[in-house]
Point group: C2
Chain length 319, copies 2
Amino acid sequence: MATIKDVALKAGVTVTTVSRVMNNRGYLSEKTKEKVHQAMEALDYHPSEVARSLAQKQTTLLGVIVPSLLHPYYNEVINALENHASLLGLKLLVCNAQRNAQKEAEYIDMLKANKVAGIILCTQSRNSVRSLINLPVVTLERSISPSVPAVLCDNEMGGRIAAEHLLSRGCKNLVMIQGGRSSEERVQGFTRTCEEDSVSFHVVHASKRQFHQLDYADLINTLFTDSPAIDGVFASSDVIAAQVIQICHKRGLCVPEDVKVIGFDDVDLARLLSPALSTIHQPIEELCAHAIQTIVRWEDTEKQSRTILPVHLVQRSST
Amino acid sequence: MATIKDVALKAGVTVTTVSRVMNNRGYLSEKTKEKVHQAMEALDYHPSEVARSLAQKQTTLLGVIVPSLLHPYYNEVINALENHASLLGLKLLVCNAQRNAQKEAEYIDMLKANKVAGIILCTQSRNSVRSLINLPVVTLERSISPSVPAVLCDNEMGGRIAAEHLLSRGCKNLVMIQGGRSSEERVQGFTRTCEEDSVSFHVVHASKRQFHQLDYADLINTLFTDSPAIDGVFASSDVIAAQVIQICHKRGLCVPEDVKVIGFDDVDLARLLSPALSTIHQPIEELCAHAIQTIVRWEDTEKQSRTILPVHLVQRSST
């Protein structure tokens, strides 16, 4: 592989001149610049970003730690982060903690050793807080400490909109299925709306195992066996809602005629289901753009900030 | 942030000794090692991987370039690559070329400048070949040049299995919907099997626009309007198959009673559909493990190799 010396030799200039051209520093004639660029091209020379970042003591790498790469929500998060990062010349190091606090801690160490510009944390573990001191960090749809800025969607509003929508579609017996993620506010929004309307409702919580395997079939089957009067289901993710539709189908219940189903997230899956799924749209693009801005403008960031972005209803055929 | 000098000072040894402990080189007493490790821990010192990689002239970063991060197939690829990479202590730099040859070329330059250990290419562009010389590169489910090793699944076999399965389930009028990806072999396998069985069939190709937007509704509607006798559909991806099921549903056609549908890929979406989708399982885990081994064992890799891994049928409720 060509070195800076090879480029200097080929261009007939000193190594210092090549370095000045690359960093665009000091006076340089157009002719010299052209000679150096031609030599770089001819030798297929790529100035080492490793060397640059060592000099600058920070890289243009951005770390993101997610709890899973199989859940469609995190795929859309990675997609949105990569889009926004690349617009700013930042590169994304993707780390999958697989819901393992030890793996998460190891990734944080690795990202620090790689001198990342910052970390976007989509994981839960509060153990990490100590190791994150002095590093630009933002949590996405998580809040792990008052000293770490968080970007969240308005989960309470989402729960309210979901309940209001099911009620406006004539449902009388509501249930919310709550997955393992940290969306207690969704439950509160749903619960408060049902209580205000004095409508019959209950909330079931998935086990950790069901959440980790993204398999809710047993839970949903038990639900319909125990409470055959259910006519409206709010699932705390589109993945759960997909399985509610499957099980209604198997039990001979029509969606939306017999049971109305609404999800949360508005991932691509929602529009691919039969019937297409009504859901609460999370502003994933905006959440990710805001998270990256928090890292990039770290000096100006209020470290105790919590930014909450609004959600809205996307009505499709399942309600 | 602590430096190597701080560690040396705290441990009461020289910087050279700290460096020798970190790199495990030369004679060192257990006592010295322990002193240095304790100082590193007390100071929360992380040896800079940037500095290390500069010394080694190569990093433990692995680049992956995908054409899209929204297609579920690439999500499962990223997930599998990250799993295998992390087992080997490699980190994944994820680049989304968004089906843009210019963006792809820029990412290749960026990855070279970051001295990645190698690149896994899931994109199409043949323009890239020249810029990839002297770099460990493997293409995944793509074949861009005889001089770049490729890891593929047996697409011809997949097309055959899909056609044979629809025939064995009693279908008489088959259609294959071909998305934009490079799976001409899938078409060949399907076509040859139908011809051998003298069964009525045709193949429709999606436009680039439909492929880029992952929206095949118009194509599928036209298909059923023009050919109402269709009773078996082979979609070249599970995403297309999901939309076939949706449109059958809207047209009052029952799946699998009136129309049998089979997909390709076996991404998570397949098992979440109603009815759950029969599909051809791509061995994504094995493809990714093999691609990473190709990079890691580059010295031993036959540069002109094409590795083709077998696929198999996963029967669910849609057939």
